[in-house]
């Protein structure tokens, strides 16, 4: 339902791209103008995105703000943008972090500025596109598009082994992507052959139950069509998450990426994987999901423990945080595959939390790296005396990452543990071990860098944070507190979507489909007018009639929307 | 009348000799000649088939004429190329013409 009668999702997606065009017209020398332009466009995007939670209808699992036009009719590809509770906060996180990254690169990046910001803006377009796309084809396109700017951000503005890391990042994720593409094609053609209509619309595709009877056995494990498709998706998403055996690109990419790149990578890009699981694997392939729960659980627990243990022995701050991401994303996966309400809710909120806190941690490291051009933990010590503001913010973020009550991390981890506990004591026990270890390496990191005597003379004259730098961290800190103290606005908006996903996974009757196809829906809205305008904004028409099912449960937003 | 198989066997032998020559000769002109042999083996087949097939429309013979033409054009171009090659390399031994590796 497009509550705004306006293609706001497309606007959000392509606004940064417009920024790229403007940047291209600016002269290379006017660095100030370039920075301001980039900031202006990301900020504008953030402002636009604020409308979304405001108008979001949390009483339904339906797709909202839908834009749908036919794009490649002969393949059944549609330009289908939509948003629901799962993506809502991820989108907000994206626009939010984009602004932060532009600000944080303000002074730390001075080389080839124009290209840098152009790639940043393109990256934002790609990320938003991934979250909005409700058509597999479109999804895949944005999925791959996103890689290119990230590749360049690492490869050009990275440190030390940037070429190696950039290519490794690109190849790993692309490899996962193409395998996922095969899964997409398999589903597409199966659906086409079964129903006669070829479509990439994921909700159309979800209507069909894919065969789950084993077709062959490999190493004693039976595999069905669904399992194979699931595995194809799994490979694509697991590399992105990254799940345990596929995580090796992450430390390299994080370590060598510029600060902003790391922030985006940790904050948003990793979420693409978990988002993919929750969007596609769970609801579309429920039997296979059930089938593979043990595997995911084992891998997640390995990731949690292994990630945390590896953190303990890191000497490089960024690498440490990178490995902590592996551990944290293991939590997210664990919660998700508990396949109960708390677990999935927790995993969604934990995605946001991880985005905020790990993003902030990378900022923190970036700030000190700008000053000292080293990230070795042993180079630092006793900074709290020299840089009190810095160390304070660091502490808050660190606690958030550890999951201290009152901060956002607690909410996510708690929900995940509850979810895991409901399924198995053992899993929960392992997860708790992970939390303990997490606290250990975080505190250890903080202690070694902030406390103690200020021994290294190079650190003696380090300036504390300036206003700009504070302004990058403070909003994150605010958000951390907000989620930690009053999480219900966040949780309530995801509730319906989570319920829907779980209903699908457990094969319960679904009260309401998130998006009815044109053919099955009563023709109350204006009909589609075809594709003559090439998918441009002008052709994007509202195609759904206002829902009338949950009339009594509407909140203020709903009332406003009905004007 | 001579049986068709005679022609076919002769053609196969010719083709085999040509192929052998094309693969083992080191002299560019020698290879070109071996190629001609292969073309002629094909021509022999065409003409023989055309003669022996029932209700033949002479397509085989026409084809053979065109093959001859094309082979001639190819030989002309081939010789020109070999000439140019000789000017550049002072040799037409294909083993020595290896600026670029496979």
């Amino acid at each position: 339902m497009n509550a705004l009668e306006f293609p706001i999702l497309s606007l959000m997606t392509y606004l940064p791209l417009a920024g790229v065009v403007v940047l291209a017209l600016l002269p290379k020398e006017s660095k100030g103008a370039i920075r301001v332009t980039a900031l202006a466009f990301t900020a504008a995007d953030l402002l636009v995105s604020l409308w979304i939670p405001a108008y979001f209808d949390s009483t339904t699992a339906e797709m909202q703000f839908v834009e749908k036009v036919s794009w490649i009719p002969s393949l059944g590809v549609t330009y289908f943008f939509g948003l629901d509770g799962i993506t809502l906060w991820l989108v907000m996180l994206t626009t939010f972090l984009s602004v932060i990254t532009v600000v944080c690169s303000w002074e730390s990046v001075s080389m080839r500025l124009k290209e840098y910001y152009a790639f940043m803006l393109m990256l934002e377009t790609g990320m938003l596109g991934v979250f909005f796309s409700m058509d597999f084809f479109l999804f895949y396109i944005f999925w791959e598009v996103m890689l290119v700017p990230m590749y360049f951000l690492i490869g050009i503005w990275g440190s030390d082994r940037r070429l190696y890391s950039a290519i490794k990042f690109f190849l790993y994720t692309l490899f996962g992507g193409v395998i996922m593409l095969l899964g997409i094609l398999a589903v597409y053609f199966y659906h086409g052959a079964e129903t006669g209509t070829y479509t990439f619309d994921i909700f159309e595709l979800m209507k069909l139950s894919y065969p789950s009877t084993p077709v062959f056995t490999l190493l004693g494990v039976p595999f069905s069509f669904q399992d194979l498709v699931w595995l194809a998706f799994f490979l694509g998403f697991a590399i992105k998450v990254p799940m345990f055996p596929f995580h090796t690109w992450l430390p390299d990419a994080h370590t060598d990426a510029p600060t902003a790149g790391s922030v985006i990578l940790a904050g948003v890009l990793l979420k693409m994987g978990t988002y993919g699981f929750i969007r596609f694997n769970l609801p579309m392939l429920p039997e296979a999901t059930q089938h593979f729960v043990p595997m995911i659980m084992i891998l997640s627990i390995i990731a949690i423990i292994y990630g945390a243990l590896v953190c303990m022995v890191q000497t490089d701050m960024k690498r440490l945080i990178a490995y902590s991401s592996v551990s944290h994303m293991g939590f997210v996966m664990l919660g998700m595959f508990a396949l109960n309400f708390q677990g999935v809710q927790g995993s969604i909120i934990q995605m946001i939390n991880h985005g905020l806190s790990t993003g902030a941690l990378f900022l923190i490291v970036g700030l000190i790296y700008d000053r000292r051009h080293t990230r070795q933990i042993s180079e630092f010590g006793g900074l709290s005396k020299q840089m009190p503001v810095y160390s304070t913010l660091f502490a808050i973020i660190m606690f958030s990452s550890m999951g201290l009550p009152g901060l956002n991390g607690f909410i996510g981890e708690f929900l995940i543990l509850v979810g895991a506990f409901k399924v198995s004591y053992v899993w929960a026990a392992f997860a708790v071990t992970g939390i303990v270890l997490g606290a250990a390496y975080m505190l250890w990191l903080f202690q070694r860098t902030m406390f103690g005597a200020l021994e290294n003379p190079k650190n003696a004259a380090l300036p504390d944070l300036n206003a700009r730098e504070i302004s990058t961290l403070v909003p994150i800190v605010i958000m951390c507190f907000w989620i930690g103290i009053y999480p219900s606005p966040f949780l309530s908006r995801t509730e319906m979507s989570v319920n829907y996903v779980l209903a699908r996974v457990h094969k319960q009757a679904v009260a309401e489909e998130p998006y009815l196809s044109d053919s099955t829906r009563p023709a109350t809205g204006p009909a589609e007018t075809g594709h003559e305008s090439g998918g441009g904004a002008a052709a994007i028409l509202p195609v759904r009639a206002p829902a009338s099912v949950h009339a009594e449960g509407r909140d203020l937003n709903t009332v406003e929307r009905s004007r | 009348m001579i049986p068709l198989s005679y022609y076919l066997i002769l053609s196969v032998i010719l083709f085999g000799i040509g192929m052998f020559g094309a693969l083992t000769r080191r002299n560019a002109v020698g290879i070109l000649m071996a190629l001609e042999l292969m073309f002629n083996a094909v021509n022999l087949n065409f003409v023989a088939f055309s003669r022996y097939l029932p209700e033949s429309l002479l397509q085989g013979q026409i084809f053979a004429i065109f093959v001859i033409t094309v082979a001639a054009a190819e030989a002309a171009v081939g010789l020109a190329i070999v000439l140019g090659l000789y000017r550049n390399f002072q040799t037409i031994n294909v083993d020595e013409i290896n600026l670029m590796k496979w």
Binding site: - | I65, T69, A73, A76, L79
Partner: protein, 119 residues
């Protein structure tokens, strides 16, 4: 049919035999044979021959050969056409003239590019 051509073979064989009989039988019996090195040297107007005779040949010969190849092949189209020409009439005539015209473009090209110059 086969006999028509068999006689060609007979002619060729008879021609070969004639040479063989004359050169290697009759003449051999009659002629003297006393070779000596001087006699066996190749003739270069009385001088001692310089170098091998398998010299590098001027490129013009190749050029003529290349042009010839094209025209020689063209005749295999001309001859059958000429035979049935009267049955086919105007169309065949125009068609062949087109063919010749295309050929002549190539001919003019060769002419103009100097392939027909004996330099």
């Amino acid at each position: 049919m086969a006999a028509d051509y068999a006689i060609v073979g007979i002619f060729l064989i008879v021609g070969l035999l004639f040479v063989v009989v004359n050169v290697d039988v009759v003449s051999r019996l009659l002629r003297p044979t006393n070779p000596e090195p001087e006699k066996l040297t190749t003739y270069e107007c009385g001088e001692d021959p310089v170098g091998a005779s398998w010299i590098r040949v001027h490129v013009r010969y190749y050029l003529y050969a290349l042009v010839y190849v094209i025209f020689a092949v063209e005749t295999i189209y001309l001859l059958p056409w000429a035979v049935v020409f009267r049955k086919l009439g105007m169309f065949a005539f125009v068609e062949m003239m087109l063919f010749i015209a295309i050929l002549l473009v190539g001919f003019a090209y060769a002419w103009r590019k100097g392939a027909l110059e004996w330099v």
